[in-house]
């Protein structure tokens, strides 16, 4: 009985000391968060984060190299097993591609004329660098990605990032060789968007849970599921004409605008490498650099 009570006292004492440590740690965290809160609209994250990213870069690159090595070894093994099946599938695909080639050649001349025109537009995306994805973090509405390129390779805060399938997000914190980018799926991310078929402009926002919404589309719009959405180039951050996604569902809410759900075109959960695009001139010219994490 005495042993039990003395054990309870010991646990109680430890718990009280632990409680005091917890209170101190939480107070430090609150102070840290409060110190950062007013600076959240600053250009490129905190200086501390930038330093930490730079300091951790060699380790992150080494771990990424090991991880990619293991992944490609696993891929090689599985490819050996699926090679025969792939061969048959490729022959079928090749046959259909050859048919398609004739049709595409006919369209080529016209496309070339269109491209010449489009090349003169200042907002067309130009790729600065290709960077490997080191870490993808999805935590309670905040969705970010660490990429293996930084200021030494010309990455600046505000640079949009994309993959061939579509827009991914934009760089917010730049280290020397590692940068952190906010994904378009982040609960605080937004981009000016255009419905390709109707030409209507709206704002695409991440909902923080893996999908996006297209806001500010009037109820008179004829937007429907399957319509392609691309960046409009009106936000001063993202270039014009990069695919964002497809309309997944349209519903009429109680407000003045339609509720449009957008399915992203970029494969966010399978990102391996991303293209860092040149930042918009508007983003560079803004006093203090591009806007913070809230476009």
């Amino acid at each position: 009985m005495r042993t039990t009570s003395s054990r309870t006292e010991v646990i109680g004492g430890r718990s009280r000391r632990g409680g005091a440590v917890l209170a101190a740690v939480l107070a430090v965290c609150v102070l840290l968060l409060s110190a950062q809160a007013p600076a959240r609209n600053r250009a490129s994250g905190t200086v501390l984060q930038s330093w930490i990213l730079s300091a951790a870069a060699p380790l992150l690159s080494a771990l990424s190299w090991i991880s990619r090595g293991v992944t490609s070894a696993a891929d090689s093994v599985s490819e050996v097993f699926s090679a025969r099946k792939d061969n048959v599938a490729l022959r079928t695909t090749l046959a259909s591609r050859e048919e398609e080639l004739f049709r595409l050649r006919a369209e080529l001349a016209q496309r070339q004329r269109e491209e010449t025109l489009a090349a003169s537009a200042p907002s067309l995306p130009s790729v600065t660098v290709m960077a490997p994805v080191l870490l993808l973090e999805r935590r309670s509405g905040f969705q970010s990605v660490l990429i293996g390129a930084g200021s030494t390779r010309g990455v600046v805060a505000g640079s949009p990032i994309a993959v061939p399938e579509g827009l991914v997000g934009r760089v917010v914190t730049v280290g020397r060789t590692v940068s952190r980018a906010q994904l378009l799926l982040d609960g605080l991310a937004a981009a000016g968007a255009r419905i390709v078929r109707t030409g209507e402009l709206g704002v695409v926002r991440g909902d923080g849970s893996g999908a996006m919404r297209l806001n500010n589309i009037p109820r008179t719009s004829t937007v429907k599921a399957g319509d392609a959405i691309e960046s409009a180039g009106i936000d001063g951050i993202y270039p014009r004409g990069v695919p964002i996604g497809q309309v997944d569902a349209v519903s009429r809410g109680s407000s003045l605008f339609l509720e449009v759900r957008v399915k992203p075109s970029a494969p966010f959960s399978r990102l391996a490498d991303v293209l860092v695009l040149a930042p918009s001139p508007a983003a560079i010219e803004t006093p203090g650099g591009p806007r913070g994490e809230r476009p």
């Binding site: 646990i11 430890r14 718990s15 000391r17 632990g18 409680g19 440590v21 917890l22 740690v25 939480l26 430090v28 965290c29 609150v30 840290l32 968060l33 950062q36 809160a37 959240r40 905190t46 501390l48 984060q49 930490i52 990213l53 951790a56 380790l59 992150l60 771990l63 990424s64 090991i66 991880s67 990619r68 293991v70 992944t71 994805v133 080191l134 870490l135 993808l136 973090e137 999805r138 935590r139 309670s140 509405g141 905040f142 970010s144 660490l146 917010v172 914190t173 952190r180 906010q182 609960g187 605080l188 909902d207 923080g208 849970s209 893996g210 959960s269 399978r270 391996a272 994490e293 809230r294």
Partner: protein, 167 residues
């Protein structure tokens, strides 16, 4: 648990976080390794170390992937304390209970970060998203497996196996 061990545990958790995080198959195994490390420290029942280990794990996570420094540190320090209370005051055992506790802790981590994000950045609170549930399940399952592996009588199993072979 010694400070050196805790440091080693956190380093291993960070390494695993990046080894899985930079792979294309990250979505298949979205384990919160830093929370697993916090839970392992908390299981020893030392409140102070659980809180400090949780805070350190959170700071690592914040430094590398969060837009505000301190949100995960806040959450993981509180969770470290909570898990230490559970391991000391509540008598329950078994891999399932340990896994369930950590899955709940993972969701609590999301909730705390979500509330802080809402208060400080006006970000929408997203808690029970499919991603969060999948990560909570994977994290709980990982600790349950580690717990089972730790409790499994490897020596007896090995001796029985040897005896069976000799017969």
């Amino acid at each position: 648990m010694t400070v050196g061990r805790i440091a080693l545990l956190l380093a291993a958790a960070t390494a695993l976080e990046f080894l899985v995080g930079s792979s294309r198959y990250r979505a298949a195994l979205p384990v919160d390794w830093l929370l697993v490390a916090t839970a392992v420290v908390a299981r020893s029942g030392d409140f102070t170390r659980a809180v400090l280990a949780g805070a350190a794990a959170g700071f690592i996570e914040d430094a590398l992937s969060q837009q505000m420094f301190g949100m995960n540190a806040f959450a993981k320090a509180a969770i470290g304390y909570g898990l230490a209370i559970i391991s000391v005051r509540i008598v329950f055992g078994g891999a399932l209970a340990v896994g369930a506790a950590l899955a709940a802790a993972s969701l609590a981590n999301d909730l705390i970060v979500g509330v802080l994000g809402f208060l400080l950045l006006q970000a929408p609170i997203v808690v029970a998203s499919p991603d969060a549930l999948w990560r909570a399940g994977a994290t709980g399952l990982t600790l349950a497996l580690l717990y089972s592996a730790e409790k499994f009588p490897w020596r007896e199993w090995w001796q029985k196996r040897r005896l069976r072979r000799l017969r």
